[in-house]
């Protein structure tokens, strides 16, 4: 697949404009981002209470603190917001002006995703640093794990974006694409490393979490950074993460092509 040079330049210009636009809503963004900080603290509090002075499956309180503090950043970087940004555009016919440009409107969703995250990250970082000082997590980070972490984080963000876009594209057929998205959110909560790190899940569920894509949008990069995986698990994890990325890209392409034939929303 080739991407036109003008498309890349356009996506860049679009992202710049979206960032400028986002700054108009910085207070709202800060409040949204704050929720992303608060909810991992709830999981941390529960696991901290269970671990007490001891450990759960080898994880002590400071390990949970490291996990959920990393979770805050990772979940922010990989959050899929397309159901809120791109889906309504399709439903309300706002896609039309974008369809008239020689650039796939999925780039609009990407530009909005990147701009939302980069602007809100600026607001989130100071809060995060404050929490690190208070919670004193035990980060067992190495240069190697950091490098692999960056790769897994980028792939996780891309995968999550494509999954979010797929669900948003369901708006071509149904006005209730949110219901389908809720199923994904629920599965990620259980199997993605959200309610518990995947290594703490019981055997069968853990195998399921390893095979399904949810973990690769959230838990996997955290496990990579905190050195929770051996070489075999790392290799399998990256192989599956890339496989899901390719699958998601193909799915988005197929759904987009079918959807655009279907496009006739009221006011389209």
């Amino acid at each position: 697949m080739t991407i036109r040079r003008a498309t890349l330049a356009g996506a860049l210009a679009l992202t710049r404009a979206e960032v400028a636009d986002m700054f108009q809503y910085r207070v709202v963004l800060f409040l949204y981002s704050l929720w992303e900080v608060v909810h991992p603290i709830v999981y941390l509090a529960v696991w901290g209470a269970i671990a007490g002075e001891g450990d759960v499956g080898g994880l002590r309180l400071s390990d949970f603190a490291a996990y959920y503090l990393t979770f805050m950043l990772v979940s922010h970087v990989t959050a899929a917001i397309e159901i809120y940004t791109f889906g309504p555009m399709i439903q309300q016919g706002e896609l039309s002006p974008h369809l008239l440009r020689p650039m796939n409107p999925v780039w609009v969703a990407a530009a909005r995703n990147i701009s939302y995250k980069s602007v809100s990250m600026l607001l989130l970082i100071p809060v995060w640093i404050g929490l690190v000082i208070i919670l004193r997590p035990s980060f067992t980070v190495t240069a190697g794990s950091t490098a692999l972490f960056v790769v897994s984080l980028v792939v996780a963000a891309l995968l999550s974006f494509l999954v979010g876009t797929t669900f948003a594209l369901l708006a071509f057929w149904t006005t209730r694409s949110f219901s389908f998205w809720e199923i994904w959110i629920g599965l990620t909560f259980l199997l993605g490393g959200q309610v518990a790190p995947v290594e703490l899940l019981p055997g069968f569920v853990q195998n399921l979490a390893t095979a399904l894509p949810m973990r690769y949008t959230l838990g996997f990069p955290i496990e990579v950074l905190l050195n929770r995986l051996d070489a075999g698990e790392l290799a399998l994890g990256f192989a599956l993460q890339f496989a899901w990325l390719i699958a998601a890209a193909l799915i988005v392409r197929t759904v987009w092509r079918a959807g655009i034939r279907q496009y006739s929303a009221v006011g389209a």
């Binding site: 356009g10 400028a20 020689p102 389209a268």
Partner: protein
């Protein structure tokens, strides 16, 4: 030279869910959903040559906008063939989209909270317009549309008319060769409507662009299009010169005479209907075929200072077409 736009037996049908109001109907629709087929465009064919300005007319729901959306590649048709500049619109090739534009009244393509200049820069990049061409085009559009400092104000602070001008400019930055304009003057005051009309005329003259426009304002059509295509309920009713439309569908002519002094009206043999007598001005309406005879009789039997014979207003003619009355 092949036509810029060629449409053959274009069909676009929609299936829409349908149910009556009320709780009972709501429950019933859970079990059995009813659908209705809407024939928005039902087999129309026409061609538009390079540089032509064509008015696309029809009542609400006639299928005009649907047809324009198919032509600009937004919608896939149910059936039929469309060729615009050698491309099939719904393939949505980048080269095709770079040569056309569709401007819809009140449709947003600008960032609401940012100055329009920011949205222009996005279009500049997306369409791959180089700096020199971009500057020249913005200067031209600023001049033709009298944009002044509108480009540096946040879009939300612009009036409807100002925003429409800026939207038009944004849609023309890539100097498209074919313009699809859907109600470009809707909601604008008379002065601004006039301004937009002058602009479209100037743009057409300057660039030789082909223009297909819909409008509810007959003044737009009269000012811009020498040829009109009339569709209703998805079907083509008329395609030809604007003057021909009036000639064909206008059922009568209005004859106004100014008398030199007071006089009794001659017997018009039921060939004309007296519309008004205002001092020395008398207005009658005569059937199209009877008009010459009525005019002759008025001229010979009345002390006339001045006489004019006019077609009815275009609105009335169009109404006649839509109601299926006429020849």
């Amino acid at each position: 030279m092949p036509p810029d736009v060629s449409v053959r037996q274009l069909v676009k049908h929609y299936v829409v869910p349908e149910r009556a109001g009320g709780l009972r109907a709501s429950f019933r629709s859970v079990l059995r959903r009813k659908h209705r087929l809407v024939r928005a465009v039902d087999g129309i064919s026409f061609e538009v040559d390079r540089g032509e300005v064509v008015g696309f007319l029809g009542p609400n729901g006639a299928g005009k906008t649907t047809a324009l959306k198919v032509l600009s590649g937004l919608l896939h048709p149910t059936d039929g063939q469309v060729d615009v500049l050698g491309y099939t619109p719904w393939d949505r090739r980048a080269e095709y989209l770079s040569r056309i534009t569709l401007i819809m009244g009140q449709r947003q393509q600008l960032f609401w909270d940012l100055p329009a200049a920011d949205s222009f820069l996005v279009n500049k990049a997306v369409f791959g317009i180089n700096d020199a061409v971009y500057k020249r085009t913005v200067d031209l559009l600023t001049d033709l549309l009298d944009l002044g400092d509108l480009l540096t104000k946040p879009v939300r602070q612009l009036s409807l008319g100002e925003r429409m001008k800026v939207e038009l400019a944004a849609g023309l930055l890539h100097t498209p060769r074919v313009l699809f304009l859907d109600e470009p003057t809707i909601g604008l005051d008379v002065t601004m409507q006039q301004r937009i009309r002058e602009f479209v005329t100037a743009y057409n003259a300057e660039t030789g662009a082909t223009v297909l426009l819909t409008s509810h304002y007959m003044a737009d059509v009269k000012a811009l299009a020498r040829r009109v295509i009339v569709i209703d309920q998805g079907q083509l009713l008329y395609d030809g010169a604007l003057a021909g439309l009036v000639q064909r569908y206008a059922p009568h002519k209005t004859i106004t005479v100014h008398l030199e002094r007071e006089a009794d009206l001659p017997d018009l043999n039921g060939q004309a209907e007296l519309l008004s007598v205002d001092g020395l001005q008398v207005t009658v309406r005569a059937g199209k075929d009877d008009a010459p005879e009525v005019t002759g009789r008025l001229l010979t039997q009345l002390p006339i200072a001045d006489l004019s014979v006019e077609d009815p207003p275009l609105e009335e003619v169009i109404d006649q077409v839509f109601r299926g009355e006429g020849p």
